[in-house]
């Protein structure tokens, strides 16, 4: 038990020097088997663990070790888990959220960075790190004067081995710039393509200035992608330009945008990657507990669920077990399967965050846009 590490401190003289030595001996948070112990050191009125694990209280108090300024909390963490968290330090009645100063592991997102705890058995994938042997693709920012939204820019990834004489599949990524920044997607593509696990592909990283509106089953967004952006890229690059070679992907509202665009243009996108989709729905009535931003999503999902139809060929769905959206995603999968589409579903012991989505990219992209690894024998 990692609580044993606290017993070790309690058995010590509890002097400043003894605490210093104890901290120096351990890596925090302390993970032993299925348990994890969070530790903070300092003066405070209270210390709370703030995390985003759906199913557990989102705020849990750390207890102080008598005679020291050490605070601790031990909880169960199933093997393979990955949890993002912050510590709330309460002083003078006010709480301040901070990163864990004893833990250097951070995960960044558009709101800043969280500390990260890895459960037993979780390993950061090797293919997310820059590999000097993997030639990098080229990434440019392109401007498009679209009929739908006027001037918009998008990131364009061209694989390292690009040749004009070949034809390529197209991957369109919602919240693309965030995927590049927070999910290392440029490096991931370089590595997986170099390993022959993912096809050499042209990848469009698109972002929206009003994503909560445009990604929530907005007809204009689907039209922008399908009638402006994709035709532009298909005119500009040697693309295969067939449904099997067009993949739409996104996470959270981006997954809703991918599915709703595919529904508005059935048969156009033959591959979908839906990560932690915000697929909120109601079984009765139209009120949802997630707020008005979700109203158009609920309306869309209720329509889809009432009459699920095959709008693509292959759909890869992933979701974190520690997300509140796990229920919506789990219940979507049998509906997708029932349409006859080829569906794969993967869960991970993780939350609604970019590194969860990053960690699933290999599983998903190697199945949706497989490289030639199955055909190469040396």
């Amino acid at each position: 038990m990692s609580a044993g590490v606290i017993a070790e401190l309690e058995a010590s003289p509890r002097t400043r020097e003894a605490v210093d030595a104890w901290i120096g001996r351990h890596k925090f948070p302390v993970v032993v088997g299925p348990s994890i112990t969070f530790v903070w050191r300092g003066d405070a009125e209270a210390v709370h663990l703030k995390h985003w694990v759906f199913g557990l209280p989102s705020s849990q108090s750390l207890a102080r070790v008598d005679g020291t300024d050490v605070w601790h909390l031990t909880m169960q963490l199933p093997p393979g888990s990955r949890v993002e968290y912050k510590l709330e330090i309460v002083r003078h009645g006010k709480g301040e959220w901070i990163q864990d100063p004893l833990n250097g592991a951070l995960a960044r997102d558009p709101f800043g960075a969280n500390s990260v705890a890895h459960g037993t058995g979780y390993e950061v994938p090797t293919w997310i790190h820059h590999d000097r042997a993997a030639p990098p693709g080229r990434l440019d920012e392109i401007f498009l004067d679209s009929k739908t939204f006027g001037r918009r820019s998008f990131g364009l990834y061209v694989p390292a081995r690009f040749k004009r004489s070949r034809r390529y599949p197209l991957l369109v990524v919602h919240d693309g710039h965030d995927y590049l920044r927070y999910a290392s997607m440029g490096t991931v593509l370089d590595n997986l393509i170099d390993r022959l696990e993912v096809a050499d592909a042209i990848v469009v990283f698109t972002s929206s200035p009003d994503r909560l509106r445009e990604y929530a089953d907005d007809e204009r967004h689907a039209r922008y992608l399908t009638e402006d952006l994709v035709p532009f890229v298909e005119r500009t690059f040697p693309l295969e330009a067939v449904p099997q070679s067009r993949c739409l992907m996104g996470a959270s509202f981006g997954a809703v945008a991918a599915l709703s665009t595919a529904c508005r243009y059935p048969g156009f996108y033959g591959r979908l990657l839906l990560q932690s989709g915000s697929f909120a729905f109601t079984d009765i009535g139209d009120r949802n507990h997630r707020g008005p931003l979700f109203d158009p999503v609920v309306a869309f999902m209720n329509r889809f669920r009432a009459e699920p139809t095959a709008v693509s060929e292959r759909v890869f769905v992933s979701c974190g077990m520690y997300e509140s959206l796990i229920y919506e995603n789990r219940s979507l999968v049998p509906m997708l399967l029932g349409t006859g589409m080829d569906v794969r579903y993967v869960e991970a012991r993780d939350g609604h965050n970019w590194e969860n989505w990053r960690d699933r990219l290999r599983d998903a992209l190697s199945w949706l846009l497989p490289g030639p690894f199955l055909l190469v024998y040396e």
Binding site: R161, K163, S165, L192, E197, Q244, D342, R344, R362, D363, A364, S366, W367, P370, P372, F373, L374, L375, V376, Y377, E378
Partner: protein, 328 residues
């Protein structure tokens, strides 16, 4: 039909092809095919060094690229053929996956063992029918394409074939390396290289070995997306008949899936399934397997890591011109 075909295990960091060249008394020149490496075809320095004798690269990938650039009508039809073959492969694969699902589900039924055995035989037969149907359809597509377009008569192809004929005339043997098996197969077929090299010994490994067998069988028990079922890509050239060559089993084959191995071995029968790591070898003379060693996937689901085929008859060894160079 080449008089002699030697199939080797995967050639990674420490290739043993040079030892085979010396054993056979070959002094060169040797023709090499690296079309499976596509754009990296010309990077043949390590292979030539490993061979240890003069060698000439037939540059089939580059020649095919030149053909595609020079003959747009043919190229368009060729691309259409390839797209059709890919679509057929995709549908065949869906059927395989459903058949695999059914076989696994049925295998879990609480039936008497004899009944389960009978049902398992039906599952194997369904795989065999899917495989046979797929190969037949692939052959029909290729035959129809050849009948319509007569690839070897296309002026650019004919010009390259003339050059290849001249290159092959003085060589002692043809060495076919691995790489992308479909790309390699197509380029060997486009120029009918085996026809041009008829009678010359062939040494091959990896994808180069797979295309020489009756059927090219793709397999990988550890794909990045979790699981997959072995599939036939197409018929091969059949000069190394009666075997399923499975390169690199130490990285691709899960030895702990007895029922799946048993189904696979029975599905491929009467062909013998042989895992070919470095050091494995199959010797064919006049189309007959005369010696071999490798990892044999048995129909009972076991793997015989020290499998050997029949011993080599001494008379059949006299293809090299210097018996005293054969190492002990």
């Amino acid at each position: 039909m080449p008089a002699e075909v030697i199939v080797l295990g995967s050639q990674h960091a420490t290739p043993d092809v040079g030892a085979v060249v010396r054993e056979r008394g070959l002094r060169g020149p040797i023709a090499i095919v690296r079309a499976g490496y596509q754009e990296r075809e010309a990077d043949d320095g390590a292979l030539v060094a490993a061979l240890g004798v003069p060698a000439v690269n037939l540059a089939l990938h580059a020649r095919a690229s030149a053909v595609f650039a020079d003959d747009p009508a043919f190229t368009a039809a060729y691309r259409d053929r390839q797209a059709l073959l890919r679509h057929m492969q995709s549908c065949y694969r869906v059927r395989l996956e459903k058949t695999e699902d059914a076989a696994r589900t049925i295998a879990l039924r609480y039936f008497e063992p004899e009944l389960l055995e009978g049902e398992d035989a039906v599952s194997v037969e369904q795989f065999r029918q899917l495989d046979a149907n797929h190969v037949t359809r692939c052959e029909q597509v290729r035959t129809a394409f050849a009948a319509l377009w007569h690839p070897t008569d296309r002026p650019t192809v004919a010009r390259h074939r003339a050059e290849l004929t001249a290159l092959l005339a003085p060589v002692e043997a043809l060495v076919i390396a691995g790489g992308h098996v479909a790309s390699l197969h197509n380029r060997l077929e486009l120029f009918d290289v085996l026809g041009l090299a008829a009678g010359k010994p062939i040494i091959a490994w990896g994808a180069g070995a797979m295309v020489l067998t009756d059927r090219i069988v793709l397999y990988h028990d550890y794909p990045p997306y979790g699981s997959d079922v072995a599939q036939v890509l197409d018929s091969g050239f059949g000069v190394a008949p009666g075997v399923v060559v499975m390169p690199d089993p130490s990285r691709r084959l899960n030895p702990d899936t007895g029922p799946a191995i048993a189904r696979f071995a029975r599905r491929m029968a009467p062909a013998v399934c042989v895992g070919m790591d470095l050091g494995a070898r199959l010797d064919f003379v006049d189309g007959a397997l005369v010696a071999g060693r490798g990892r044999h996937l048995r129909p009972d689901g076991g793997i015989d890591a020290a499998w050997t085929a029949a011993p080599v008859a001494p008379a059949l060894l006299a293809l090299g011109d210097s018996a005293d160079e054969v190492p002990a």
